[in-house]
Structures are given as structure tokens and as C-alpha cells.
């Protein structure tokens, strides 16, 4: 995957999902009262999440294609680039909505960009939701890699 494509993956935050959903997701992942500031990296927005003076982490919003609809997801990392959580912000397909269930999403927690994330290995699939499971897993892998790379290069801090 080229850097250019990787860069494109991370989406402008504000229009990607209803702002209330993004705010609720940030509050759920980082705790109530977390403050989110929008950083720009090239043309892409990343949320910097902090409380008082301490950095809590970063979050990005992106889309992957399910069977025929985009799936909008949020990927959040902590201050040492461990994945804090994944949220499905908007799911539009008729089948496969199980990827939004917490027992499936929590498989990603604590992973780093160096960890292997493969369906059927580290990530268990869900029967009848295979296409969405593969799409979201791929999206998480790439968004986690991109956020980590930006953080480590100082593009976001």
C-alpha cells in the first residue's frame, strides 16, 4: 500500500459522520470530559484527544467498502500507539452489522501497528458477516499503521 493511498485513507473528521456520534464515540473511548482538537496532516484531519495537559491519544475516521456500502469507522490510539478501540460510526449494509458489536470490536484493543491482524487468526470472523469483517479489519490495520507513523514522525503530536 503506497503512502499516498495510506494518507488518503484517513479522512477529514468533521463531515465523515454525524458530529454527535463522533463526540459520543470519543467520550466512550477516552472517558467523559476528554477534549478533542482537530489536527491537519496534509489534507486529512486527525483528532488529538487530551484532558487538562495530558495527551490521551489520537483518533481518525475513515471509510471502507462493505459489500456495496461504505462503512464509517473510528480508530483511536493511546499515547504510546496502542489501539484503544474501534468504533463503527455508521453502518449501512443490510447484512454484516455484527462488526459493530462490542465483543467483536474488542479483539483489536491493545494492538500496535507491528502486530499481525488477520481474519481467522488474531481476529475471529462472524458467519454471515464475512465481507464486513474483512473490510473493517483491513481498515483498522491501515488506519492504525498510518496514525502510528504520523505520531512517530511528529506529524501529529
Amino acid at each position: 500500500m503506497s503512502i499516498a493511498l495510506g494518507l488518503l485513507l484517513l479522512a477529514a473528521q468533521s463531515p465523515a459522520a454525524p458530529p454527535a456520534k463522533v463526540a459520543a464515540s470519543i467520550a466512550r473511548v477516552f472517558g467523559a470530559g476528554a477534549r478533542a482538537d482537530t489536527l491537519r496532516v496534509d489534507t486529512v484531519s486527525v483528532l488529538r484527544v487530551s484532558r487538562a495537559d495530558s495527551l490521551l491519544g489520537f483518533a481518525a475516521i475513515g471509510n471502507v467498502l462493505g459489500k456495496d456500502q461504505p462503512i464509517t469507522l473510528l480508530v483511536a490510539i493511546g499515547p504510546v500507539d496502542r489501539l484503544k478501540d474501534v468504533d463503527i460510526l455508521v453502518y449501512r449494509e443490510p447484512y454484516g452489522g455484527e462488526v459493530a458489536y462490542e465483543p467483536w470490536r474488542r479483539q483489536f484493543r491493545g494492538k500496535t501497528a507491528g502486530d499481525s491482524l488477520r481474519v481467522g487468526k488474531e481476529i475471529r470472523s462472524i458467519s454471515g458477516a464475512t465481507i464486513s469483517v474483512h473490510a473493517v479489519t483491513l481498515g483498522v490495520r491501515r488506519m492504525l499503521a498510518q496514525l502510528t507513523a504520523w505520531h512517530q514522525s511528529g506529524a501529529i503530536r
Binding site: 479522512a11 463531515p15 461504505p70 481467522g120 470472523s125
Partner: protein, 373 residues
């Protein structure tokens, strides 16, 4: 992949805002198919090769909420007048209006949400070259009818999802002893709506686990007063339960179904058939990914599987019918499925077709390839 917009697998929205992207009309193409080699034992039974299914999936999003989805199928590669086999048919064609995660309204030609294979029938999703016999003779896949309904997930992270439809019913004149309700399906072709039927499903999912329960209830009499009168004359009632479990290299699945044909006696009298008053059976299947032993790092799969089916389309018979014990079938299938990717499969299996009468028993060797995208 299949999007006309996407850069490969991912729809990348930066820098264009999603609301613009999502509001754009968008057409998606996909598909699945399978080619079979079948060699039955017995005299004068040469092997047969067949392009069993070629299916084009076509979907269109009109806006954020309204989408059309369809599958157009060619069976047996070609259709020619006066020749057996061959079919061109729509497997699905419906409009979805999405109100929220918890409910999408659906209308059109829809799949009956019963069992495992009827809704999830792409060849890489199941073991064995042919679909299980149970999913032909008991649950008549691919079972689709015209109607309206709703699908959705029950909110709150419950893991529950549902589908319910009101569709056209079966027709009693198609019911038979050997294939149960199969030829009673109308499949969207100038279907009689004399007997609206209800069908639905609730399922519960966790990573690696899915458990479902399904039903169908509706009359079959059509306009034949000798069979029954009223919308629910000569009703067919189906209940089914299914479970799928995947853990590491292991995969298990099981389905059971019970169909009661309440007025089988009247149906048999009217159409000179010997339809069972109860059709029942099920199967269990276990699979193990052999690549876990020899190449544990590989994301490819080589599934060895064993399936055992037991079903009887005359589990009970009405007065006047002598049970044909050859219809009490026991099918054991074992084989391999090599899956270089999750959506392609190369299959080989051996089937032992047995029945309680010991009549017409045979073995079948099958090879096949299947894909979906």
C-alpha cells in the same frame, strides 16, 4: 474490487466529505459462481461437468437510505428450448429503505431467512461441492418469494438481529413426496398471492458464533377449495434452528428443521401425490483447517470436513399413504476445500447416499471450484 468509486478495497473519502460521497448515486457489481464435476457410481453413469451457477450481483444506492440489490442467475450455463436443465432466474431483487440500524424496510423478491445456506449461499461459504441435500429437499434453497418486510439489529449491543417478511405463499400443487415443499415455491414468477405467508428469523452473534431460529407459516391452497379455503387453507408450518461455531482451525455447523403440512391428505387427494404430513431432518458438519498443522502462519485454508445428514420427506404420512422408506435419507459427505483466499474455493468430496429402504443407494465423487466477489 467491486466499487466503481473505490481505490481498491477502500473507499477513501479524504478530501471529499462523506456526506457528498454518500449522497452520490453509486452502482456496485459483484458475483459468485461454481463449476462442478460429478461422478456417480453405477452402470452407465459417466462423470458430468457442469457450470452449475453463474450469478451477477448488481446493487445501486440512490441516496443514503434507499438502495436496490439483486442477483441474476444462470444455472447450467445455458437455456435452450426442449432441453432439460438450464435456468435463468432472479434470486433476489429488492429495494431497501434504511431507517436506522434497528430497521430497514425491504420490498421485492426476497430470500426466505431460513437456515444457513438459503441466505448465505456463495460457494466459498460452505463445504462440499453441492449444497447439502437437506438444503435441497427440506429447506428448498434458493427459496425466494415476493413480499414486504423489515430487517435490522436489536440495539444495545445485544448481538441480536432479525428479519421478518410477509410474502406470497407456497402452492400445494407443487408439493411432492420426495422433494417436500420444494416445487411449491413460486419464485416471483406470476405468483399467486392467494395465501400470504409469514417468514422470519432471529439470530444471535458473537465472534465465531452464530445461532439462529427461523419460521415460515402460510397456506398453500391457492384457489382450490378442495384443498382448503381462506388465506390460511392447507397451511405449511416450518420451524428451524441453526448454529455455526468457528474457533481457530475448527468449524462446526448444524441445522435442523421440521415442516408440518397440515392438510397433506387433502393435497394428496387433489393432486395424486403422496406428500408427507411432516418433513423433518438436519445435519451436523465439522471441519478442521489442515494448514494449521503444516503452515500455521498461512492465511490460506485447507479444510477437511465431514458432514452427516439425516432427513425424511415422509417423516409422517397422512392416512392413505404408505411411507416410502427410501425417502428417509442418510447422507455422509467427507472431503477437502482449499481456500487460497476467503472468497475462492477448490473443493473435492465423496458422498455416501443411503436410505432406510436400502434402495437406489450410491456413492458420488465430486470436484468443484467456486468464487465470490
Amino acid at each position: 474490487m467491486r466499487t466503481l468509486l473505490g481505490l481498491g478495497f477502500l473507499v477513501l473519502m479524504a478530501p471529499c466529505p462523506l456526506q457528498i460521497l454518500a449522497a452520490q448515486e453509486r452502482t456496485t457489481v459483484g458475483g459468485y459462481g461454481e463449476v462442478h464435476y460429478t461422478n456417480r457410481t453405477g452402470p452407465k453413469t459417466p462423470a458430468v461437468v457442469n457450470l452449475a451457477r453463474f450469478v451477477v450481483y448488481l446493487a445501486h444506492s440512490f441516496d443514503d437510505r434507499l438502495a436496490f440489490r439483486s442477483e441474476l442467475e444462470v444455472e447450467d450455463a445455458k437455456v435452450e428450448g426442449g432441453k432439460p436443465g438450464g435456468e435463468v432466474a432472479l434470486e433476489q431483487a429488492y429495494l431497501d429503505y434504511r431507517l436506522g440500524d434497528w430497521i430497514t424496510l425491504r420490498t421485492g423478491l426476497v430470500l426466505a431467512p431460513i437456515g444457513i445456506i438459503n441466505e448465505t449461499h456463495e460457494p466459498p461459504t460452505f463445504n462440499g461441492v453441492e449444497r447439502p441435500g437437506f438444503d435441497t429437499d427440506v429447506i428448498p434453497t434458493t427459496w425466494r418469494e415476493i413480499g414486504v418486510g423489515a430487517v435490522g439489529t436489536i440495539p444495545g449491543g445485544s448481538g441480536l438481529a432479525y428479519r421478518v417478511y410477509l410474502v406470497n405463499g407456497l402452492r400445494a400443487d407443487g408439493l411432492s413426496a420426495a422433494e417436500g415443499i420444494r416445487e411449491g415455491r413460486q419464485e416471483g414468477r406470476q405468483a399467486s398471492f392467494a395465501n400470504p405467508s409469514f417468514t422470519g428469523r432471529v439470530e444471535w452473534a458473537r465472534p465465531g458464533v452464530k445461532i439462529g431460529g427461523s419460521f415460515w407459516y402460510g397456506g398453500t391452497a391457492d384457489t382450490n377449495a378442495a384443498v382448503g379455503t381462506g388465506a390460511f387453507g392447507a397451511p405449511v408450518a416450518l420451524v428451524s434452528a441453526d448454529a455455526r461455531y468457528d474457533s481457530g482451525p475448527f468449524a462446526l455447523r448444524a441445522v435442523v428443521a421440521n415442516i408440518s403440512v397440515s392438510d397433506a391428505q387433502a393435497i394428496n387427494a387433489a393432486y395424486a401425490q403422496s406428500v408427507g404430513s411432516r418433513i423433518a431432518g438436519g445435519y451436523v458438519e465439522g471441519a478442521y483447517n489442515l494448514l494449521r498443522l503444516v503452515a500455521p502462519a498461512s492465511s490460506q485454508k485447507l479444510n477437511a470436513f465431514l458432514r452427516h445428514e439425516r432427513y425424511d420427506t415422509q417423516a409422517s404420512v397422512p392416512a392413505g399413504v404408505t411411507r416410502d422408506r427410501a425417502l428417509a435419507r442418510r447422507i455422509t459427505t467427507f472431503g477437502l476445500a482449499y481456500k487460497p483466499t476467503w472468497n475462492t474455493a477448490f473443493k473435492g468430496d465423496y458422498q455416501l447416499l443411503r436410505n432406510a429402504a436400502g434402495v437406489g443407494e450410491l456413492d458420488v465423487l465430486s470436484l468443484g471450484v467456486g468464487y465470490q466477489f
